[in-house]
């Protein structure tokens, strides 16, 4: 099987590391060769962050380049726009509708573009936009929007729900398990 590429993008602190670990564990359980490339350090401090997940028979490079991603999972609308060049033609975008102003917008040096999801759809990209933050708050904590989004992803991929549940149990501390399972269910049911 040819290598498939999924990017998880967002803002430092939104929990992209947990999301990529869940996905990585599901893919490993499916028997794929998997590489997950993360960002630590400086960029985690509220900056734009990206995680690469690649799987197939044999994965070489852990990074994804422009025009290579089959799917982009975005935690924030502006980040969807920023990383769009990495999406392959015919690729899918799954995005949270959350908006976080970056510092140049806060200081008034730049404008936050309007209707980002609609504009990307107009470019012919298949877009799923979900209020992941709202659903996470419904589940009990705004921080669980990462797992809500993975619920959305699970509904759009062919991997068994059980594998996702196992991955959540492996990666989430017991204290937060129930919250995250609820967040996952809400995401999975979202359309």
């Amino acid at each position: 099987m040819e290598t498939r590429s999924i990017m998880i993008v967002g803002v430092g602190g939104q929990g992209s590391l947990l999301a990529s670990r869940l996905l990585g564990n599901v893919l490993l359980a499916k028997g794929f060769d998997v590489k997950v490339s993360e960002v630590h350090g400086m960029s985690q401090r509220g900056g734009s962050v990206v995680t690469y997940v690649k799987y197939g028979d044999e994965v070489c490079s852990p990074v994804i380049e422009k025009g290579e991603a089959d799917v982009i999972i975005s935690f924030e609308l502006l980040e969807s726009a920023r990383w769009l060049p990495y999406l392959k033609k015919g690729g899918k975008l799954i995005t949270s509708t959350q908006q976080l102003d970056p510092m140049p917008v806060i200081t008034g040096a730049a404008q936050y573009p309007e209707d980002i999801a609609a504009k990307i759809k107009d470019m012919g990209v298949e877009v799923t936009a979900v209020d992941a933050l709202g659903l996470a708050e419904q589940a009990g904590n705004a921080k669980a929007s990462n797992v809500v989004l993975m619920g959305v992803v699970s509904a759009q991929t062919e991997f068994e729900e059980e594998l996702w549940q196992n991955a959540i149990e492996q990666c989430v501390p017991p204290k937060f398990l129930e919250l995250n399972k609820k967040a996952f269910e809400l995401g999975r049911a979202a359309r």
């Binding site: 490993l28 401090r45 970056p102 200081t107 573009p113």
Partner: protein
């Protein structure tokens, strides 16, 4: 059993499986997790040292004592640890010793992109370079065997994309390597001239033996696909090349990047019409090939700067580029920022407001250099804030002393700020040093340090008393402020700058991300009172933005630190 592991986690697994018992490191992205994961193994003693030199010397002592030992650091950390490395290369080991050095091509989290391979060449020690997590574990074990067989410390070079990528690793049992006997041997371990001269001869003989080893070592391997294109590469670049070129090229993958084989490379070049060298940063492999008189193509095509990828290789070697979609409007950049509730913000706001010249340092607080605070003038290396302030003040005199400060974090101050402060006291400049004591090593992800009262395992430990330390080196004026209290902080800065002698201000409040820090409820804006003056935006808090001319506070980010209430004149920010 196979497990997805970060390269750094696999490194720790390699340490465990190789029977290592002593680990001493200083955190630095992208190397930090090696030591954190190593600390999870009960059979390994692991610690955070105050800096890389101390860490390396601790590992050296453990090696001489007969243990398999390790120290880990980022590329610039090896600058700090270079002194012991160069001489321990002469001594050689008793128990095997391995150093991890993690390079950061592309500078994801670093102040430069120096190439650590130069150190292996200069210190005449072997260096291995793995290209994924499974290889990391294997190479770490091989490194210990090489260390003991050839009587030398060995460096394993990581880079961001290997250190911070997860891939599958099969787990094996730990090999036990009981403590070797320690036998007094000054000719080997006392490196004074009379003993060091014969050891240099040993080092040159060792290098010759290592070159012979490199010719046939399984660490260096050839993947033969065709005779038109040959690629000599190592580490992560092997993965980029293989993804871009597949079976359109043959590969000589060098797992050992110092010393290089000679015949193996000559044979490979002879068998292929065109040979490319693909290596990030400097032209180390290429220079070796050219010294052998081989016709290879490298930096003229790829250059010396930044990270490569499969796309870079495909573009340079095949001339192909992916089709790219672009969002039709300007997408504002999103640089990293100080977190909401960050205790550094209040201090930098006061420095910015008073237009103070700031000699900066390495840590989260380097973000004080960014808009809108713009409160940093220099950042060079760990500890330079303090020593460079002294030099700046010596050069410019009283005029500078009255409006220039150094800022340095608690961990960085322990690392190499203390000696600079000693110099300020000893050689007398009227300098003002601000220690940003947030009770943790922040930027690398919350590591304990000698001021926090806890060790790497989280157990209670002796804590350096910063006030007493500053007094002890000869600084009489030491004041402590709470950076959430802007009035107090600003007054202290003004007073200490005006004082006729050197002083230290300790700006003390724990990092807002620490688990034990209790947050207040998020604040709100009373829209009726907000006049849209945007004073609160000067704080550069990511939780505050403007909608329809009025400020709004994002309740998911705000931790209720309250410094915005101190700058809001109409008192529109409320609980």
């Amino acid at each position: 059993m196979k497990k997805l592991m970060l390269g750094n986690e696999a490194f720790a697994r390699g340490l465990y499986e190789a029977g290592v018992t002593i680990v001493s490191s200083y955190p630095g992205t992208p190397s930090t997790e090696i030591t954190e994961y190593a600390a999870k193994y009960e059979d390994i003693y692991a610690e955070w040292a105050p800096n890389e030199k101390v860490a390396a010397e601790t590992a050296i002592g453990a090696s001489i004592a007969g243990a398999r030992s390790f120290c880990g650091m980022k590329h610039v950390g090896l600058n700090v640890a270079a002194d012991p490395l160069f001489t321990f290369s002469y001594s050689g080991v008793n128990g095997g010793m391995v150093i991890a050095v993690a390079d950061d091509p592309g500078m994801h989290s670093s102040q430069n992109e120096q190439d650590s391979r130069h150190y292996a060449i200069a210190a005449k020690v072997p260096m291995l370079e793995p290209s994924d997590s499974s290889e990391v574990r294997d190479y770490v074990k091989a490194a210990y065997d090489i260390s003991e067989e050839f009587d030398t410390p060995v460096i394993v070079r990581m880079c961001t994309r290997v250190a911070h990528s997860q891939s599958a690793v099969e787990l094996f049992d730990r090999e036990e390597h009981p403590l070797k006997d320690y036998v007094k041997c000054p000719q080997k371990y006392v490196m004074m001239p009379a003993y060091a001269r014969p050891r240099h001869v040993v080092v040159e003989e060792r290098t010759a033996k290592l070159i012979t080893y490199a010719e046939t070592s399984p660490l260096n391997r050839i993947i033969e696909n065709n005779t038109d294109i040959g690629i000599i590469t190592s580490g992560i670049c092997f993965q980029y090349a293989r993804e871009a070129m597949g079976d359109k090229a043959s590969y000589l993958k060098l797992g050992m990047v110092n010393p290089f084989p000679v015949e193996l490379i000559k044979d490979f070049c002879a068998k292929h019409k065109t040979v490319y060298v693909i290596e990030e940063l400097d032209d180390i492999i290429e220079t070796h090939c050219k010294k052998l008189g081989l016709d290879v193509i490298g930096k003229e095509l790829f250059g010396f700067i930044g990270e490569f990828s499969q796309a870079v290789v495909a573009e340079k070697l095949l001339g192909v580029k992916n089709e790219v979609m672009t969002f039709p409007e300007n997408v504002p950049v999103r640089p990293p920022v100080m977190c909401a509730g960050c205790p550094h913000r209040g201090l930098f706001y006061c420095l910015s407001k008073n237009k103070i010249t700031v000699s900066g340092d390495i840590g989260c607080y380097t973000l004080g250099a960014s808009a809108p605070l713009n409160a940093m003038d220099t950042t060079i290396c760990m500890g330079a804030s303090v020593s460079a302030l002294h030099g700046f003040n010596k050069a410019r005199g009283e005029e500078a002393e009255k409006k220039t400060v150094a800022v340095i974090g608690d961990s960085t101050f322990m690392h190499s700020g203390i000696t600079g402060l000693v110099n300020i006291a000893y050689n007398a400049t009227n300098s003002t040093v601000i220690i940003l004591d947030n009770s943790i090593t922040g930027m690398t992800g919350h590591q304990q340090n000698p001021t926090t009262g806890k060790n790497l395992k989280g157990d209670p430990a002796a804590a350096v008393n910063l006030e007493e330390l500053c007094h002890a080196v000869g600084i009489k004026r030491v004041v402590v402020v709470d950076p959430y209290d802007l009035a107090q902080t600003e007054a202290a800065i003004k007073e200490e700058l005006a004082a006729p002698e050197p002083s230290v201000i300790i700006s003390r409040r724990p990092c807002a991300l620490l688990k034990y820090v209790k947050h207040e409820a998020p604040l709100k804006v009373d829209e009726g009172k907000c006049v849209g003056c945007k004073m609160c935006l000067k704080l550069g808090c990511p939780a505050i933005s403007v909608r329809n001319g009025k400020c709004v506070i994002d309740h998911t980010q705000c931790v209720g630190c309250g410094i915005c209430t101190e700058v809001c004149k109409p008192k529109a920010i409320i609980k």
